[in-house]
Symmetry: C2
Subunit: 202 residues, 2 copies
DNA sequence: CCTTGGCCGTGACAAACGTCATGGGCGAAA
DNA sequence: TTTCGCCCATGACGTTTGTCACGGCCAAGG
């Protein structure tokens, strides 16, 4: 049985290169390519793909959200996440969203086709080290609003800027940020943002 | 004449995929692949590559520094930079380092082989829009120490942390940072870091 | 020669920031 | 029902930060 594969990555060069790489395999057909997260579901439907290879960083919606949509609407299509950043939080969120596998972009190219095959057969594919880190670190301790406020503070504006952006009082914003700083162990707002990004909590 | 190509990218998956893509072309032979900047020169020498495809973000030394080394030691090998981030400052620095071309990773895959061929023939390949931005923005207005201090402040520590790291007085650090904030147009230290990174001034 | 500009430092001041205590409203769990 | 945690807000506090004015050192260039 030949695998019908969809590739989603925002970088056209990488997308095309991955397609070229995987098209060399006899048992894999690249039947669709998209560059935005919000085009994934429609493309899977139209192409009848049986496996979707999704990058996380994408315009529109990110790959994790796209994976959740695919899982909900087209469960016969299995999802393999592939991403640049091996952040443990990403793995956890991707699995929660129903992804069947998770591969980072610095795994050898030769293993990718195997990962696709395994996912296609219903197996799970995960990076062991990443899984360990993910377990060790656990879920995000950040509250919904804390995450939201921290994300809004990412661009680097003053408290009042953030407050305007999220429609909250300045005091409330400061409280949420203070709490986020405490939970991340950072010494700054900027530091907290950095840590949270690293952990995949944003 | 067949083109002997070296590919340097820290992400094995991308590296292999690009190799697969370009190996499909009759007039291109991928003769070497490396994952670190500091292995580029030796690999070019050993493989006799005539064109080097270099990513910028790499461990060891970055692609720009590697391009400078190749230009100095093996001028018969032309360099084509390929990078994720289309930062004008990167383009400027890459060209100063002797690169013959500059491609961002969201150009269509079909154009990459052409870019390689043009570079191989001695032509220059640059993204027009990026070149315009680069000219409009000009060189970094930041002073050497300002750049240094700003880079040290990147990790997100307090003034005293930065001061310790760069062996300067706290007051001096604040002056340099203030100046950098003014020149970047940022409203924060964090904001200034963000802007400077975007522009490729770090 | 003298001016210019980068570099380093000090001191002072206003604004922004991080922390804390406090309090009310709300939904979920015990 | 009561408790608990999250959410929102306020006010107060001490600290950090950003800005400015000022002075001294030094190398490059008019």
């Amino acid at each position: 049985m030949v695998i019908r594969l969809l590739i989603a990555d925002d970088q056209a060069l990488v997308r095309g290169a991955l397609a070229a790489l995987l098209d060399l395999e006899q048992d894999i057909d690249v039947v669709a390519q998209v560059g935005r997260g919000d085009e994934v579901v429609e493309a899977v439907r139209a192409s009848g793909a049986t496996v979707a290879l999704l990058d996380i960083e994408m315009p529109g919606i990110d790959g994790i959200a796209a994976a959740a949509l695919v899982g909900a609407q087209l469960p016969e299509c299995r999802v393999l996440m592939v991403t640049t950043f091996g952040r443990p939080g990403y793995l956890a969120r991707a699995m929660q969203a129903g992804a069947a596998g998770f591969v980072v972009k610095d795994t050898p190219a030769a293993e990718l086709a195997d990962a696709v095959r395994r996912v296609s057969m219903g197996l799970r594919v995960v990076d062991l080290q990443l899984a360990a880190e993910s377990l060790a670190q656990g879920d995000s301790p950040l509250t919904e609003r804390e995450t939201y406020v921290l994300a809004a503070a990412r661009q680097g504006g003053s408290i009042s800027d953030v407050a305007r952006a999220v429609h909250l009082s300045q005091g409330t914003v400061r409280n949420h940020l203070s709490s986020a700083i405490g939970k991340t162990g950072g010494k700054n707002r900027a530091d907290a943002v950095r840590v949270a990004e690293e952990r995949g909590w944003l």
